[in-house]
């Protein structure tokens, strides 16, 4: 489904990804772990097409098509979804309107019928249960005044609505207390299917107790330094990242 080969990416003049290789197949959950500044979020944003980042070398293909140069909306329409670490507040745009606009843009691009308000509301009423979200929250402006937990739940709700083939979850656990973490993780698990895949970026092992990964990769200083099964996450949890890579260089990198 996703094939990343020797991917290099920068912000301005600073190179952050220094050659990432990764293959993700349908039905798999890959966890990407790493210390702060290792390039985890950059990888997530580069894959989703954030124009703030520039890819300088290598390639990333999604279902055989190169993502490089593809606008973010086209990636979304192809079935890629980024769950933001810090979801954006958009005052003045109602969440349900916003979701329907995106949902219909994706359907339209595939030549499918657009959903009217009634039909979309039915879908929404059903999917809010995935993250135990109050339906009234979707009538408010996007993320405006939402708590940290509500914002993260909202991201997973959108994932449930869009039903992407590949979800990239950028630290879905950050800022969550234990109860909120359980709800978000439950939501993610409900959306796991044999025909879709998840890349879960995280700093801590704890969410992996709930969302059990097929593979764990440790990213340090813009490169994957170790890959393994779910036990690698436990090793990181008990021993930290220092023994795995180049900590001195890693702390210099930003992003």
């Amino acid at each position: 489904m996703l094939q990343i080969t020797n991917l290099h990416a920068s912000v301005g003049d600073v190179e952050i990804l220094k050659g990432v290789d990764l293959q993700v197949n349908a039905g798999e959950v890959h966890a990407i772990m790493g210390p702060n500044g290792s390039g985890k979020s950059t990888l997530a944003n580069v894959l989703a097409g954030n124009p703030s980042f520039t890819t300088t070398a290598g390639d990333a293909t999604f279902e055989g098509e190169s993502l490089l140069g593809m606008p973010p909306e086209d990636r979304a329409r192809a079935g890629l979804f980024l769950c933001f670490q810090h979801p954006i507040e958009v005052p003045g745009v109602r969440l349900d309107h916003f979701m329907r606009a995106g949902f219909n843009a994706i359907r339209k691009s595939k030549g499918m019928d657009e959903y009217d308000v009634l039909k979309f509301d039915r879908l929404l009423n059903e999917r809010v249960d995935v993250v135990e979200m109050d339906r009234n929250l979707t009538k408010r402006s996007v993320n405006e005044g939402f708590s940290g937990g509500e914002k993260k739940r909202n991201e997973v709700l959108q994932m449930a609505i869009f039903e992407p083939k590949l979800s990239i979850l950028d630290e879905p656990d950050s800022g969550l207390d234990v109860d909120a973490l359980r709800i978000v993780a439950d939501g993610i698990n409900q959306l796991r299917r044999p025909d879709n895949a998840i890349i879960l970026v995280t700093h801590y092992q704890r969410i992996l107790n709930y969302v059990v990964p097929d593979q764990v990769h440790v990213l340090i200083d813009g490169r994957i330094v170790r890959s393994g099964g779910k036990e690698l996450a436990l090793e990181v949890e008990s021993r930290g990242y220092d023994h795995l890579g180049r900590p001195a260089e890693a702390t210099q990198a930003s992003g």
């Binding site: 097409g49 954030n50 990636r75 958009v90 003045g92 745009v93 979701m99 606009a101 994706i106």
Partner: protein, 449 residues
């Protein structure tokens, strides 16, 4: 009747002579006295210049305005306007009462005042000065001082036509009363100087929509003065929507005086005009009044819009909220100059002022300047000002959900104004204004869904 003389000021003085001897000669003596006094003052003042040190006009050069040939609206201009053009230029619902003015002159044929409830007077000012001088004279030119404002002096020097709205004590009027000012002229320049006086009686509740639109291209100049008096415990919602052609010059001086326990709101919208200057002055005559002054402007190309808002908290326990937002594209420019005065002894005044601008291009420029003059300790005043481009992260967020860039930009731009639009109390108007914003953005950005 185009006159070009040595200076534009002289042209206006000459025009005044023929004006006094023709259409306006039947006005009451006190009105003619007032005009004469204002004309003298205009002669002394001349048009303001943007020279250094003249803070009030620092960012806005009125020389193009002073160059518009003095061609005062003729009474027969309305004959060239049909009901369909009026309907197209109108906002609100067709059944709402409406006075229509063409180049500043009242047109009875184009107006519709059948729906007016008893107790509401909505007539041309010229008629009101003759028929109900006791209602008009005490308020006219009382708050719109012309001693140091050349445009107000000039308007007052030609004070004759315009609108008079009077809402009787205790009366509640649901539908907005509409005043529509049209400029037309087959590509020729015209000067319109309408005068509006709105008096909301004690414990009355009403809303007034003052709209400006152009039916033809041309260097139209509108120099309007509106005076509003809100009686004790009354509520008045005032909307001003300017959609003049792109070459038009639009100058307005609006003076609002609010009495005890009253509530006044204004929504000032500018979506047209080459050069627009709005002076909005509000004074609290007594305590416990609340005022909500909001507005937005959308400009592109080389349009220039300047809003000067002065709130004079002369009395204690008065509240004011100001929220202006601007969207600037092309090489347009906006100025917002908000002053809040809190007089000595005006304790517990609560005043807040916000002006925010969204720049859609690198060449657009927004100047925003808050000023506070506080002569009392026990007050609460705040302000916020911002000018910036669209947040790239927000844009990316929307695009990552499948929305194309143009749609995402349109959505974020509309959302930026929503705070002001949602504050429009009248639902019909709110929907129409939102639609106008969407139309404008579609023109600027392409289809925005």
């Amino acid at each position: 009747m185009t006159q070009r003389t040595a200076t534009q000021e002289e042209a206006y003085l000459a025009a005044s002579e023929s004006f006094e001897s023709n259409g306006a000669s039947h006005d009451p003596a006190w009105a003619r006295e007032l005009r004469k006094d204002a004309l003298d003052r205009f002669r002394e003042l001349g048009f303001p210049t943007a020279r250094r040190g003249n803070e009030e006009w620092k960012y806005t050069d009125v020389m193009p305005i002073a160059r518009v040939p003095v061609r005062l609206g003729a009474a027969d201009a309305a004959a060239t306007v049909d009901a369909e053009s009026v309907a197209q230029a109108s906002l609100g619902a067709a059944q709402w009462p409406q006075l229509v003015f063409v180049n500043g002159r009242y047109s009875e044929a184009l107006s519709s005042v059948d729906a007016l409830p008893e107790g509401v007077t909505t007539v041309s000012l010229a008629e009101a000065m003759r028929s109900t001088p006791d209602l008009v004279q005490p308020h006219l030119a009382r708050f719109a001082g012309y001693a140091d404002n050349a445009f107000t002096a000039l308007n007052t020097a030609f004070l004759h036509d315009g609108a008079f709205v009077h809402v009787a004590r205790g009366l509640r009027v649901d539908d907005p009363i509409r005043l529509l000012f049209l400029s037309t002229g087959d590509g020729e320049e015209t000067v319109a100087q309408p005068r509006v006086l709105i008096v909301a009686g004690e414990e009355s509740s009403a809303s007034v929509l003052e709209a400006y639109a152009g039916l033809s291209e041309g260097d139209h100049l509108t120099n309007a003065v509106t005076e509003i008096v809100v009686g004790a415990a009354a509520r008045l919602d005032y909307y001003k929507v300017q959609r003049q052609p792109e070459q038009a010059y639009h100058v307005t001086n609006t003076h609002v005086a609010v009495e005890r326990d009253s509530r006044f709101s204004s929504v000032n919208i500018d979506m047209g005009g080459r050069l627009t200057r709005n002076n909005l002055n509000l004074v609290t005559l007594d305590q416990d009044c609340s005022c909500y002054l909001t507005g937005f402007y959308m400009v592109t190309g080389r349009q220039h819009v300047d809003n000067q808002v002065i709130i004079d908290h002369a009395k204690p326990y008065t509240t004011s909220r100001e929220l202006y937002k601007g969207i600037l594209d092309g090489r347009s420019r906006s100025v917002f100059h908000g002053s809040i005065i809190v007089r000595e002894g005006a304790v517990k005044v609560n005043a807040n002022q916000v002006d925010k601008n969204l720049l859609l291009s690198d060449q657009a420029e927004a100047d925003t300047k808050p000023a506070f003059w506080i002569y009392c300790d026990d007050v609460k005043c705040g302000h916020g000002a911002a000018c910036g481009h669209m947040d790239p992260t927000a844009l990316f967020y929307l695009r990552s959900r499948g929305l194309d860039e143009r749609t995402a930009r349109g959505l974020l731009t509309r959302a930026f104004l929503s705070e002001v639009i949602e504050g429009i109390a009248n639902e019909t108007l709110r929907g129409q204004i939102d639609g106008l914003v969407a139309d404008t953005l579609r023109e600027w950005l392409g289809d925005v869904g």
